[in-house]
């Protein structure tokens, strides 16, 4: 469990063009610099937006990351709902889900 490291990776990816480019060229070379466990590594490499959400990555980091990956808004929201269905409730942080996975509030 190294949510801080996982979040730091997404922080760097979202804001730093050099990290973005290095990640696009060879993600493995970038993620070795962060102390991640297997589940976190898999979530980033897939990428599994739903699992990243459940792991407790701050929603703002994840939203910007999904945008970086070009994931459309409604699809991004659905992937988080699917993540909760598959992996259970959000495990950490302040971005927990208050609705049910089958509910759509908007988008």
């Amino acid at each position: 469990m190294s949510l801080y490291q996982l979040s730091k990776l997404m922080f760097d990816l979202n804001r730093d063009n050099a990290v973005k480019e290095a990640f696009r060229a060879d993600p493995r070379q970038v993620i070795v610099k962060y102390d991640l466990d297997d589940e976190e590594r898999r979530a980033i490499m897939d990428p599994d937006i739903g699992l990243l959400y459940v792991l407790g990555v701050n929603g703002q980091l994840l939203m910007h990351y999904a945008a970086l990956l070009g994931i459309e808004w409604s699809d991004y929201l659905q992937r988080m709902r699917d993540g909760v269905k598959m992996h259970g409730p959000v495990r950490a942080g302040i971005y927990t889900m208050t609705t049910s996975p089958d509910e759509k509030v908007a988008g």
Binding site: Y4, S7, K8, N58, L61, M80, V84, G107
Partner: protein, 272 residues
């Protein structure tokens, strides 16, 4: 007295990025609200604009998180987000390093503020600037209150920060405008995005408009989280703006727009 304008507004990325997905009349009402706010801002002929933002990890992270920060650079860049996603073009924004330095020094008399010679803007500043300064003319001084990574500064410190900005602005000869930007209740960047507690928002806006300091500072973060979501923590920016203005607020528009994920707000406040 050199604080010449105080206002608050929403900054949700959907306002620009998902612009066409809202009912047309609601979108138009909000966009008109920004236009009214912009006209009021321009009328005061400010030399610089301080934006009190609640940023979303464009600069500050849990490795070294300041409760309060001010920019001290001659230029800034943004947005950090994918330009097609946010639909706000990249721009280099003029800063005002010398003015920043004088304001920061004055703020430090009462509030320990971090200063930053580098600062990237995210939607939290870029969406407001897109509407309030479309020509990219105004020198901007970014300010930030940590509303993302708990522990968060108490509300009474957000008030103290706004009060310090006011006293600092009054010590400089330049004409200073101030915009606080945040959501009221919202659950952004979660599957609940679009949930809005309109009753809670209206009650908060009523307290804000009356500049009722004690009522605003009586909120507790546990209650904000329960009733207004993690996005509700951003009321700190509204509270700072109220502390700076000291007068009564005038809500130009309050329009809940679920696809934009927030009760979209624009307002000005009388400076006394």
């Amino acid at each position: 007295m050199s604080l010449v304008f105080v206002g608050v507004c929403s900054h949700a990325p959907g306002i620009t990025g998902r612009e066409e997905r809202a009912p047309r009349e609601l979108r138009d009402e909000l966009y008109a609200g920004y236009a009214t706010m912009r006209a009021a801002l321009e009328d005061t002929k400010p030399d610089a604009l301080i934006v009190i933002a609640a940023e979303h990890f464009a600069n500050f992270f849990m490795n070294n998180m300041p409760s309060f920060a001010l920019g001290m650079a001659d230029q800034y860049h943004g947005p950090i987000e994918d330009a097609d996603w946010l639909r706000v073009p990249q721009r280099t924004v003029k800063g005002a390093a010398d003015l920043s330095r004088r304001i920061i020094s004055a703020i430090m008399q009462t509030v320990d503020v971090s200063y930053c010679e580098e600062w990237k803007f995210d939607h939290g500043i870029m969406v407001p600037l897109h509407f309030l300064d479309p020509g990219n003319k105004l020198p901007v001084i970014p300010a930030n209150i940590n509303c993302q990574g708990p522990p968060l500064t108490p509300l009474h410190r957000a008030w103290a920060f706004g009060d310090a900005i006011r006293r600092a602005a009054d010590t400089v000869p330049e004409r200073i405008a101030l915009v606080g930007t945040g959501g009221i209740s919202h659950w952004p960047a979660t599957p609940d995005s679009g949930r809005i507690n309109e009753a809670w928002d209206r009650e908060f806006l009523d307290k804000w408009s009356r500049n009722d300091r004690d009522a605003m500072l009586a909120y507790k973060d546990t209650e904000i989280y329960r009733n207004a979501g993690q996005g509700g923590f951003e009321i700190r920016t509204f509270i700072s703006a109220a502390a700076a203005a000291r007068g009564r607020g005038n809500v130009i528009c309050y329009t809940p727009i679920p696809i934009y994920a927030v009760g979209c707000t624009t307002a000005t406040m009388e400076i006394v």
